[in-house]
Subunit: 880 residues, 2 copies
C-alpha cells in the first residue's frame, strides 16, 4: 500500500487520496509552475493512524523516510545537514477545503546546529533566528498543545525590556535570546528538551496534523459543512521558501477575480519580509496586490500570467498563495476560491459569457446554501438613508445584520436563542466558529479582507465588517467604544457587510428579490432541473412571496396555525371542550367561513399551481391554556366552570404528545373536523374558480397515516363531503386526496396505502423523529454528547439521514409506485430546503421538494446540480 506521493506523482484528480491542497500542488507541478517540491502523506494514512489507535505504523513511517530521501535528492538539501539543510513546512489538506480548521507548522528541520550554519550560509542570522523561534512556538502549540500565548508573553516582555514596539525592531541577538527562552519554556512545559532531530520533528508534526482532524473546531466545521469524519486529512510536507529573508522577499494571497463582487480583476494582498501566517492572521495590515506591480514589476507580471493560466486550467476562480524569496516567485497553493454569493453568480454568468464554462459547469460551481445570503433581508432603504454610520470597516461579507452585541462566542451562542445577535471581536480565531455561526453578523476591529473573520463569514453567508479600527473592543468588560460612545453587551447595533458601515441601534430590514445575474443563473437552473420545487406556506402572503422566489406550488399548508388567530381561538376551544358531536359542529360551523376565506386567499395567490392542504394535525391540548388564571378566564368565556375546563385539559394530557392523539387520529375520533375542513377547501376552490375562471385543483392531505384503513376511513369522510358539495354546485372540480408519509409503518406499508392515496408527501421531520426514536424537543439534551463523542456528525433534522430515514423514503417510493405508477411523490419536511437532501430526493425519484419560501431558490439550484451530476454519471445515492 502506497501512503506517500511526491508532488510529481499526483494530479488534481486525486483529491480523495491527496486532499485538495496536495492534489493542486501536484497539478501545479505538472503544469511546470514554480512550486517548492515536496510530498503528500495520504488520507488513507490518516485513516490507518486512527485504526491503529493513534500511532503511525512502521510501514508508513518507513515510506515517509524513503520520501524524505527522494525530496533530499530533488532539492539537493539534506535534513539536519549543517552544509545545506532541508527545511520543510507541514500542512494539513483535506478532501474539502477547511480554512483555518487544522494546523500548519513552518520551518521544520531547524535546530541549534542547523540554525548556526544557516546563519553563516545565508549571511542573514536575523532571519534564521526569527524562523527558529517561530518554529519552536508553532511546534509547541500545534504538536504539544502548549499555548502560543505563553511564548507571546516572552516576546512582549523582551520588547518592553528593549523599548521597541514591533517584532521587526528586535535584533538578531534579541532573537537568539528568545530562542533560548523558548526552549527553556518548552522544557518546562514538556519535561523534555525540544527535539533536535528533524525526523523526530517531522513524525510528531505529521501526527499532530492527523490529530487536528478531530479537534473540536474541525468537528463543528464538518458538521456545518456536511463533511464526513471518515474522510481524514492528508499531510503535505513541502520544502520551505522564505518570504521573510528581507525586503526582496514577501508573501501574499490573491484571487483571480474579486471574491466579494466577482469582478474580473486580480484581487489580493501581500506583505514584504513576512511569512504566510502574518498575512492570514491579519496582524499586520498588508498591501493590495496591485501595488506589487510597483514593488516588483517582473514578479507581478509572472504572477499575473500564472493566475490567468490557473484560472483557464481549472475553469474556475482561483485562490492562490505565493511567496517571493529573494526576488524569486514560488506558488504555495491554489484552490477554487471561496466567494460571496453575488460574486459566485457574477463569476458564473461571466464565465459562460467568456466561453470558459457551460451552463451545466457553472451550475455546479455555486453552493446552493450560499444563496441564502441573497435571500435574507437587507436594510430598508429609507431607514438606511436616515441612519448615520458611526464607523466603517472592510465590507468583508455582504448582507445586513442587526442585533444585540456580544463579545465572546459562548455568549453569542447562548443569546442567539433569544433573538438576533452580532458577534464583536478584536479579531476572530478558529475557536470562535460556533459563535460566528450563531450570529447574524460579525464585526472585528482588526484584520483584512482575507482575515479569518472575513473568509469564514463569506463561507457561511453571514454578513461581516472586518478591520474596523475605529472601534475599541474590550472583551474583559464586555463593551466596545466607538466615537466616544460605549456600548455594553446586549445593546443594539447594525452592520452592513456590503458597505462596511457600522451603526448604533436597530435599522429595519426588507426582503430580497431575484434579479440580474441571480435571475439569469436561476433561469439556467430551472432549464436543467427535473425535480419540481414547491413551498410550505400557510398564508396568502407567504404563498405570494414564495411564487416570487420561483415556487411551483404549495407542498404543505398547515391549517392549525390559522386557528390561533384572536377571532378563531375561541370557537376552536369551544369545539375542543364540546361533549358531543352536535355541540362540536356548532363551533366548527363558526370556523368554517374563516377557514374558507384563508383557502380562497391562498388559491388566489397560487393561481393554477397545485396547493396541498393538510388537515388538522396537532393534539388538541395545544389549543388550550395551561396557566391557572388563563384557565379561569377561558372558562368564563366558554360559560363553563373552571373545574370542568380543568378536567377537560387533564383528560387531554398526554405522556408523549408527539405520539398521541393527533393527525388523522383526530379525524378518526371526530370525523366532523375533517368534514368541515374539506367543506372549507372545496367551497373555497369553487368560489375562486368562479371568480377568476382559473382551474383550481386542491390536494387534500391526511396527516400521520400509519395504516391503509385510517386512510380509507378519513378519505371516505373527505370524498363524501366533497362530492356532495361539487354535485350541488353543478360544476367540475378535480381534487386529490393523499397522505403524509411520516410514520415508519406508513413507509413500510406504502403499497397498501397507495391503494387509497393519490399522492405521498414525506413528512421527514416526524419521520426522522420516529425512525431515530427521539423527540426533537428533547434531543437537545443529549445531542451535544453525541457530537462530542463523534457518534453523530450532523443533525438529522437539518440533513436527511440517508442511511436510515432515506431507506424508508426509497422503500415507500418504490412500494407506492408499484401499486400506483403515477402516484405523485414529494417531501415537505424542513429537509426540502437542504441541498444534500434535495439531491437525495432527485435520485430517489421524487417529483418535488417543498420548503420554506426563502429556501426555494436554494432548492431549485440543488435540484439542478443533482440533475447535472446525474447526467455526468455521478451522484449515486448513499455515496455521501
Amino acid at each position: 500500500m502506497k501512503y506517500v506521493y511526491l508532488f510529481s506523482e499526483g494530479n488534481s484528480g486525486m483529491k480523495n487520496l491527496l486532499g485538495g491542497k496536495g492534489a493542486n500542488l501536484a497539478e501545479m507541478t505538472n503544469l511546470g509552475l514554480p512550486v517548492p517540491q515536496g510530498f503528500t502523506v495520504t488520507t488513507e494514512a490518516c485513516a490507518r493512524y486512527y485504526e491503529d489507535g493513534e500511532v503511525i505504523a512502521a510501514d508508513i513511517s518507513a515510506q515517509i523516510d524513503e520520501y524524505i530521501g527522494s525530496l533530499e535528492g530533488i532539492t539537493g538539501k539534506k535534513f539536519g545537514d549543517a552544509q545545506n539543510p532541508l527545511l520543510v513546512s507541514v500542512r494539513s489538506g483535506a478532501r474539502a477545503s477547511m480554512p483555518g480548521m487544522m494546523d500548519t507548522i513552518l520551518n521544520l528541520g531547524l535546530n541549534d546546529t542547523v540554525a548556526a550554519s544557516m546563519a553563516a550560509l545565508t549571511g542573514n542570522a536575523r532571519f534564521v533566528y526569527d524562523s527558529y523561534r517561530r518554529f519552536i512556538q508553532m511546534f509547541s502549540d500545534v504538536v504539544m498543545e502548549q499555548s502560543k500565548a505563553e511564548y507571546e508573553k516572552l516576546i512582549t516582555a523582551l520588547k518592553a525590556e528593549k523599548g521597541v514596539k514591533l517584532d521587526t525592531e528586535l535584533t538578531t541577538e534579541d532573537l537568539k535570546q528568545l530562542v533560548g527562552q523558548f526552549k527553556a519554556l518548552y522544557k518546562q512545559g514538556q519535561g523534555a528538551d525540544f527535539p533536535a532531530d528533524p525526523k523526530t520533528q517531522l513524525l510528531e508534526a505529521i501526527k499532530a496534523v492527523f490529530r487536528s482532524w478531530n479537534n473540536p473546531r474541525a468537528i463543528v466545521y464538518r458538521r456545518m459543512n456536511d463533511i464526513p469524519g471518515s474522510w481524514g486529512t492528508a499531510v503535505n510536507v513541502q520544502s520551505m521558501v522564505f518570504g521573510n529573508m528581507g525586503e526582496d522577499s514577501g508573501t501574499g494571497v490573491a484571487f483571480t477575480r474579486n471574491p466579494a463582487t466577482g469582478e474580473k480583476k486580480l484581487y489580493g494582498e501581500f506583505l514584504m519580509n513576512a511569512q504566510g501566517e502574518d498575512v492570514v492572521a491579519g496582524i499586520r495590515t498588508p498591501q493590495s496586490i496591485d501595488q506589487l506591480a510597483q514593488v516588483m514589476p517582473a514578479v507581478f507580471t509572472q504572477f499575473s500570467d500564472i493566475a490567468h493560466k490557473l484560472e483557464q486550467h481549472y475553469r474556475d476562480m482561483q485562490d492562490m498563495e505565493f511567496t517571493i524569496e529573494k526576488g524569486t516567485l514560488y506558488m504555495l497553493q491554489t484552490r477554487n476560491g471561496k466567494r460571496t454569493a453575488p460574486a459566485a453568480l457574477k463569476v458564473a454568468v461571466d464565465m459562460v459569457a467568456e466561453g470558459l464554462c457551460s451552463k451545466e459547469d457553472v451550475i455546479l460551481k455555486v453552493d446552493p446554501k450560499q444563496l441564502d445570503t441573497l435571500l435574507h433581508p437587507q436594510f430598508e432603504p429609507k431607514a438606511l438613508k436616515a441612519a448615520k454610520p458611526i464607523a466603517a470597516g472592510l465590507p468583508a461579507s455582504p448582507g445586513a445584520g442587526c442585533g444585540r452585541v456580544y463579545f465572546t462566542a459562548e455568549k453569542a451562542v447562548v443569546e442567539a436563542k433569544n433573538g438576533p445577535v452580532l458577534l464583536i471581536r478584536q479579531e476572530t480565531s478558529p475557536e470562535d466558529i460556533e459563535g460566528m455561526y450563531a450570529a447574524q453578523g460579525i464585526l472585528t476591529a482588526r484584520g483584512g479582507m482575507t482575515s479569518h473573520a472575513a473568509v469564514v463569514a463569506r463561507g457561511m453567508g453571514t454578513c461581516c465588517v472586518a478591520g474596523c479600527g475605529e472601534i475599541t473592543v474590550s472583551e474583559e468588560t464586555e463593551s466596545l467604544t466607538v466615537a466616544g460612545q460605549t456600548l455594553k453587551a446586549g445593546d443594539y447595533m447594525s452592520i452592513d457587510g456590503s458597505t462596511g458601515k457600522v451603526y448604533i441601534g436597530q435599522i429595519p430590514t426588507v426582503e430580497a428579490t431575484v434579479t440580474g445575474d441571480f435571475a439569469t443563473f436561476m433561469s439556467w437552473a430551472d432549464e436543467i432541473r427535473t425535480l419540481r420545487v414547491r413551498t410550505n406556506a400557510d398564508t396568502p402572503n407567504d404563498a405570494a412571496h414564495a411564487v416570487k422566489f420561483g415556487a411551483e406550488g404549495i407542498g404543505l399548508t398547515r391549517t392549525e396555525h390559522m386557528f390561533f388567530d384572536a377571532d378563531r381561538i375561541l370557537p376552536m376551544r369551544q369545539m375542543i371542550v364540546a361533549k358531543d358531536e352536535a355541540t362540536r359542529r356548532v363551533a366548527l360551523d363558526k370556523l368554517l367561513p374563516m377557514q374558507r376565506g384563508d383557502f380562497e386567499g391562498i388559491f388566489k395567490a397560487m393561481g393554477e399551481r397545485p396547493v396541498t392542504i393538510r388537515l388538522l394535525d396537532p393534539p388538541l391540548h395545544e389549543f388550550l391554556p395551561q396557566k391557572e388564571e388563563d384557565i379561569a378566564a377561558l372558562a368564563r368565556e366558554l360559560g363553563i366552570t373552571a373545574a370542568a375546563l380543568k378536567t377537560t385539559i387533564e383528560n387531554l394530557h398526554e405522556f408523549n404528545p408527539m405520539m398521541g392523539h393527533r393527525g388523522c387520529r383526530l379525524a378518526v375520533s371526530y370525523p366532523e373536523i375533517a368534514e368541515i375542513q374539506t367543506r372549507a377547501i372545496i367551497e373555497a376552490a369553487l368560489n375562486v374558480q368562479k371568480e377568476t375562471g382559473l382551474t383550481i385543483v386542491p390536494e387534500i392531505m391526511i396527516p400521520l397515516v400509519g395504516d391503509v384503513n385510517e386512510m380509507k376511513f378519513v378519505k371516505g369522510v373527505i370524498t363524501t363531503t366533497a362530492d356532495k358539495i361539487i354535485a350541488a354546485a353543478g360544476v367540475k372540480l378535480v381534487y386529490k386526496v393523499g397522505t403524509m408519509i411520516e410514520i415508519p409503518r406508513a413507509a413500510l406499508t406504502a403499497d397498501e396505502i397507495a391503494k387509497e392515496a393519490e399522492f405521498f408527501s414525506f413528512g421527514t421531520n416526524d419521520l426522522t423523529q420516529m425512525t431515530f426514536g427521539f423527540s426533537r424537543d428533547d434531543a437537545g439534551k443529549f445531542l451535544d454528547d453525541y457530537y462530542a463523542r463523534k457518534i453523530y456528525e450532523s443533525d438529522p433534522f437539518a440533513k436527511l439521514d440517508q442511511i436510515g430515514v432515506g431507506k424508508l423514503v426509497k422503500l415507500a417510493a418504490e412500494l407506492g409506485r408499484k401499486t400506483r405508477p403515477d402516484i405523485k411523490l414529494g417531501i415537505c419536511g424542513e429537509h426540502g430546503g437542504d441541498p444534500s437532501s434535495v439531491e437525495f430526493c432527485h435520485f430517489a425519484g421524487l417529483n418535488y421538494v417543498s420548503c420554506s419560501p426563502f429556501r426555494v431558490p436554494i432548492a431549485r439550484l440543488a435540484a439542478a446540480q443533482a440533475r447535472v451530476s446525474e447526467l455526468r454519471g455521478g451522484g449515486d445515492l448513499g455515496q455521501k
Copy 2:
C-alpha cells in the same frame, strides 16, 4: 361465481368457503348420517354483500332461489305450500367457531296459511302455533332488531291472565291468540305487516346473518380470538326438524368426551319436547345424556354409534347437536369441541395412546392460550380447607377466582382496572362478553354446563361457576343474597370453577405447576420445536419460577426495577442529582455491591443457561419525586435545597420521555453508569463461577441503539471495563455484548450494527410504538375509536403487527445475518408470549423468544405448533 352449495356438494375441507358449520354438515351428509338437508350461502357471498354496500346482488339471490328449488326437490316439500310446507332454519357459520356471537332463526317459512294447514296435517296445532310465535319473535329480534323482551312481556301477561306458570301450560288457543298479538306488536314496531312470503323471510334472514358478522359483540370476540374481519360468515339454510312435536321428540347437545376433564365418556344434555334454543339458553334444566338410554334406548344407541364414528373420522373430540323428531334422530351439527385446558391435555395424551393421533397431530389440537388457565394461581390448599362454601353451582370452567363482585359487564370492565373482580349475573348473554373478559371469574344463578356463560368462560380460560340456584341476583340493587346474607357491589367473594363451590370473602391462591398430562404433553412440544424459549425475569425468584415452567435462559433482565428498592433509591437519586462525574461515581459505588448481589442471585437461579442483562433504560426523571412534599423531603435527605432539587427535576423534564434521554443515550452522556453496571455483572459472574464451578456466560445488552456508533461507543465502555476485571481475576470468563433492536433505524441499519453486536434482541414493545408512531400510554384514548371503525382489528401491543413491525424484524434479521452469520436473534417484547407472534418468530428464523415466566409453556407449545406447520408445508408468513 358459485355462491350457494347443497350440503351434498361440500366437504369438511371447504371451511373457508362454507364456514365450519356448513363444511361439517356437508361432511356428515357425505358420511351418510341423518342430516336434515339444506344448502350453504358462502362466505364469499358475505364479502360481496359488504362490497356491494350491504345488499344481496341479483346473481346471488337468483342462486338462492335456484337452491330453494333444489331443496324442495330433495325434501319433497315446498316453501309456502299449504299441502306440504317447507320450513327451514337459518344459521350463521364462520370459518372459526364463534359460539353465540351471531344469529339464528328457526321455523322460517311459517305464515297464517302454512300454520293452519300444518296444524291440520300434523294434528298438533299446539306445536305449530308455538313454533309460529317463536318464529315471529326471533325474526323480529334478529332481522328487525325489535327487542325479544317486548314479546316476552306479552307471554308473561297471558300466563298471568290464564293463571298458569309454565309456557307449556298455555293451550293451542292461547298460542293462537299470542301469534295475533305478536303480529300486531310487529306491525306497531315496524309500521308494516309481518312478511308472509317465505322467500322474503329468507332473504331478510340471510341479510341479518351477514349483518350480525359486524355486530359489536362479534367484533370484540374476533379481536380477542385473532379472527380477521375480512373472513365473513356463511349462512346455512337447513330444512327444519322439530324437537318440540311432543314427548317422543326432543333436542340436545353432547360431546364425545367430557369437555371439562377429558374423560372418554359421552357427555351432554337433552330436553324432551323442546327446540334447540331451550337447551343452549339454559332456561330449563336439561337431563344428562346418559338418561337418554332410559328414555329412548334405540335412539341413544344410534347416537352413541354416530358420536364414535364422528370422533374417529375427525380424530378429535366432537361437540354435536341433535334433534329427535317423533322418535327419529337427526344430526344438526358437529364440530371439534371446545374444552378446558386439562381436558385438552388429557384428550391429547389419550388420543396418542389410543393410536388415533400422532404427537404432531395433538400438538396442533391444543390452543396455547388455553394453557394460561393451568398456569394461573389455584386456591392455597390449607386456606381452601379452612374456608366454608356458602353455596355450590356447576363447575363450568376450572380455576380459582377471587375478587370484588360486580353485577353488570360495564362495571366489571371499569373496576377490573383497580384489581380483580368477579362478574355475577342471573345468566350471561353475548352482550356481556367484555365484562366476562375483564373478570377473574364468572358466577351465574341459572344455566347449565353448556350455557352461554360456561361455553364462553371455558373458551377464555376464565373460571366459571354456572347455575348456582342458591344465590339470588338483583341487578337493580346491585347485590346478591345467599344463605340469608346479602353482598353488595365491591364485596369480596371466591369461586372455584373446578368444584363449583362458592365462598364469601377472599381465599389466598398458589402458583400452578406442570405435572401429569401437562408435563407429558409439554415434553412432546419440546421434542418437536426448534425455537428456544427464554423468560423475562428481573429477580432470582422470577428466574427460578420460569425455569420450573421450562425457560431455557433469560432473554431480558431489566436492571432499573432493582433501583426502586428502599435501600437503593437514595443512592440512585444521589447519582441523578450529581453535578459531575466524581460525585456521580460516589453514588454509583454505593449501588455496585447491591447490583452485584442481584446478578449473583440470578446467575445462581439460572445455572449455565444464558442470561441477558440490559443496561439502565428509563429516563432518569422516573426515579425522582414529582409532588411538592416529596421533593422537600428528598431534598432534606440529599442535603440540598428544595429549589436546587426542583431545578434538577425541571431540567430533566421531557416533552416526550419515550423518545427522550434514555436507553444507551444515558450511557453516552454518563459512561460511568454503564461502567458500574458492567462491573456488577462481570464481578457477579466471576463470583458465581468460583463458588459453583459452573460456566457463566453473561450477555450484556445495550438498549435503544439507533446507530452503529452508539453501539461502538457503549460497547467500548463495557469491554474496557470487563476485560480489565477479567484480566485482574486471572480466570476465563466469556461474555457477549449485543443490543435491543427497538428503534426503526436500528432495524434499517442492522447490517452496520451487527458489526459490533453479537446478538440482537427485538424489543417489540418500543419497536411497535415507534413504528406505529403512537405511545402505548396515550393510545388508549383513540384505540377504541379505531376498533369501532374497524381500522384495527387487534391490539398491536398484544399481537405483533406482522405487516409493518414484522417487516422491520425480518429485515433486521436478514441484514444482521448478512454481516454476522452466527448472530443470535431473539425477541423480548411482550409479544414473546403471544402464540401468533411466536409463530411469526419461528418463521422469521429467530433463535428464541423471551416472555414472562407464566407464559413460557404457552410459547413452548406455540413454537412446537409453528414447527409442525412448517413440516407440513403450511404456516407461511404474512398469511395471517
